[in-house]
């Protein structure tokens, strides 16, 4: 559909959970009744001032919101073009944007009387956020994590255990994030009556993509206000990294109808987006299919078998992407690009050196794209990149790639 035929990009999804042809509710019958009751509960909560009052209180006093919008002056000087701002969601409690969404889902779970929370995690940030909020509310928490990720994200595994969560290493399939999501879904089907599945990204069956987006939209809402205060106008370009796409959707959504705002999602290009498929760029290197409850762009072979993604960043290592991104891609409202591991590692180091901020490998991808475009943009061009997570968890991975011996 051409751009000018759409009145608003902010009305989705429709009553069937569709963003255009994407999204939907592709789940087994056992889960359908629960999905429908979750949708009803979320619809009630959305218009309930007491729900948002509780969210706002916890966002402020527990998470530490609003996160700053920070002008990266030395980075800007170094790049010599556009003014680069960072939305500092890595300063949130637990060190990433994930907790914005977890709080919302756990409050909903409590409203629904669910006592057992399950989650999947890749890099471990969503798992840590879920374990954190469960500890705060005294809820039982089980986190499914691919065995491979358990190995490369050991600090987060220990954090989750300290917080009282049970971490289940997933060995089914190939033991990655998508397999962790499969095992979480299997747990949910088995324990559907008392269990709430806290999904970490804007994917899964309706209403998850919309619900997670709404919770993460606090990022973009704050950015609007803060940029108004700083520069007296809207930003010109938004840049965010995309695995499933929740930090990006959170930044982008409040700006979708501001046509002057250029929106760019950055996928993980791994070793390069080509026929070897050693990447996680679902939009740049995949095609539409159905997985984990929704239709979206997926990495798959000709027979519809799902392929493993590949990225240096465990948080981007997912063969799909949120359905709303697929729609924004197809209607042309947002642009999607890929950044390789090598480029992300360079951006990681530059950010440390110039700004004194150790970024997670996920936003390092966004930063790498900023480094590509900023030099050619005018000095009054305002870029906001989403610094969606801090890099403490990644220093071991980075050290390995840089050939630094971490043994003490």
């Amino acid at each position: 559909m051409p751009d000018d035929l759409i009145n608003s990009f902010m009305t989705g999804p429709d009553e069937n959970g569709r963003f255009g042809d994407f999204g939907g509710r592709f789940v087994s019958e056992t889960l359908m009744p629960l999905i429908l009751s979750l949708e009803a509960e979320y619809e009630r909560a959305k218009t309930d001032p007491t729900f948002w009052a509780e969210m706002d209180f916890l966002w402020k006093h527990y998470v530490g919101r609003p996160s700053p919008l920070y002008f990266a002056e030395r980075l800007t000087d170094h790049l010599g073009g556009a003014k680069v701002y960072m939305k500092r969601d890595e300063l949130n409690h637990t060190g990433a944007h994930k907790i914005n969404n977890v709080l919302g889902q756990i409050i909903l779970a409590r409203r629904m009387g669910k006592t057992r929370i399950i989650a999947e995690t890749g890099a471990g940030q969503h798992g840590v956020a879920t374990a954190t909020v469960c500890a705060k509310f005294g809820l039982k928490c089980i986190v499914y994590m691919g065995a491979h990720d358990v190995e490369r994200q050991a600090p987060n595994v220990f954090r989750m255990r300290l917080l009282g969560a049970e971490v289940v290493p997933v060995t089914s399939g190939r033991g990655t994030l998508k397999d962790a999501m499969n095992d979480a879904l299997r747990d949910w089907v088995t324990n559907v009556r008392d269990t709430f599945y806290c999904i970490g990204t804007v994917a899964g069956p309706h209403p998850y993509p919309a619900m997670v987006r709404d919770f993460q939209s606090i990022i973009g809402k704050e950015t609007r206000v803060q940029m108004q205060e700083a520069e007296g106008r809207l930003p010109d370009t938004l840049v965010a990294a995309i695995g499933g796409g929740s930090n990006a959707m959170g930044l982008f959504f409040p700006f979708l109808d501001d046509k002057s705002v250029n929106i760019i999602g950055v996928e993980a290009g791994g070793k390069g987006v080509d026929d070897r498929m050693e990447h996680c760029a679902s939009l740049t290197g995949g095609r539409p299919g159905v997985l984990h409850g929704n239709r979206t762009y997926l990495l798959q072979d000709g027979d519809g078998q799902i392929l493993e993604g590949f990225s240096i960043s465990a948080g981007l290592d997912y063969p799909g992407i949120g359905p709303e991104h697929s729609w924004l891609h197809d209607v042309g409202r947002a642009q999607y690009v890929a950044i390789t591991d090598r480029e992300a590692l360079e951006a990681f180091q530059l950010c440390c050196a110039l700004e004194g901020i150790i970024p997670a490998l996920e936003p390092s991808h966004a930063l790498a794209h900023v480094m590509k475009i900023a030099p050619d943009l005018p000095r009054d061009h305002l870029i906001v990149m989403n610094m969606c997570g801090r890099g403490d968890k990644d220093i071991f991975t980075v050290a390995k790639h840089l050939g630094f011996d971490m043994k003490i």
């Binding site: 592709f26 789940v27 056992t30 009744p33 629960l34 299997r186 088995t190 519809g304």
Partner: protein, 263 residues
């Protein structure tokens, strides 16, 4: 009338319950799998459920997950799965074949092309785990229009208010999932299942077949006794996984069929 309808008419006339067997196409390899499928009618199987391997079988337990992985590692494709059905049809034109699996491999082929290929291969019905009634326009309605049965799963969480939605557009039979869980997990209990089957039968004239958690001839008998038939999948697949010779696998299937037929 499809082969499924004809089969149930015949079973009703003979006063027998149906025994339905599930195997994963291509497990442990194409040739062995083909030999097993071709032997199922002779082992007393009334309806064959032919599993379509998928990388991400989110409703399946470990046994069937691993079967799918073995099949895919052996190079199983949708075309090869359809070939097994075609081969069976050369000698058997009455035993219904129901393809069971997940939507993406079907979607990847294209629904219209898939339905034409399935019809041509002698497939009679489809069970697609991740297509609830809310997504009927995707495959269910086109499949029925193409003359294939679309068999829906009803589960313990499908309450009376929702049941009509599940039964609408279901044809062939209703597959009642005996437990809230994945395949091959908990044991189905006839005392739980009986009232649930009665609840479904109060709203439909379609036969109700029960699956999930049935592992022995005794269980097949007990469950079939309170329904129109029983499905066994994981227990058969587990025998195949042990590398048993085809004759032994088929002997085990025959013992399950005899159990269900005693009901």
């Amino acid at each position: 009338m499809t082969r499924i309808d004809a089969k149930f008419a015949q079973l009703r006339a003979e006063g027998r319950r149906a025994f339905v067997a599930y195997v994963m196409a291509g497990d442990p390899d194409y040739a062995t799998s083909r030999e097993i499928v071709l032997g199922l009618p002779g082992a007393g199987v009334d309806i064959i459920e032919l599993g379509m391997p998928f990388t991400d079988p989110m409703a399946d337990g470990e046994t069937i997950q691993l079967a799918g992985q073995r099949a895919l590692a052996g190079g199983q494709t949708l075309d090869k799965t359809l070939q097994i059905a075609r081969d069976l049809r050369e000698t058997d034109d009455t035993t219904p074949i129901v393809m069971m699996g997940y939507y993406n491999p079907i979607y990847a082929r294209g629904v219209a092309r898939f339905l034409a290929d399935a019809r041509a291969a002698g497939i009679d019905g489809l069970i697609v785990v991740d297509l609830p009634p809310e997504e009927d326009s995707e495959l269910c309605l086109p499949a029925q229009a193409a003359g294939l049965n679309f068999i829906r799963l009803a589960t313990p969480t499908t309450d009376d208010a929702r049941l009509p939605k599940v039964l609408t557009n279901t044809s062939g039979f209703v597959y009642y999932v005996s437990i809230t869980g994945i395949t091959g997990a908990a044991n189905a209990q006839a005392t739980d299942v009986g009232p649930e089957v009665a609840r479904i039968k109060a709203q439909t004239d379609l036969p109700v077949i029960v699956g999930f958690g049935i592992k022995t001839p005794e269980a097949a008998q007990a469950i079939a006794a309170v329904a129109d038939g029983a499905v066994v999948g994981s227990a058969i697949v587990a025998e195949i996984a042990k590398g048993r010779p085809v004759a032994e696998v088929l002997a085990f299937v025959a013992s399950l069929a005899a159990g269900a037929h005693r009901a």
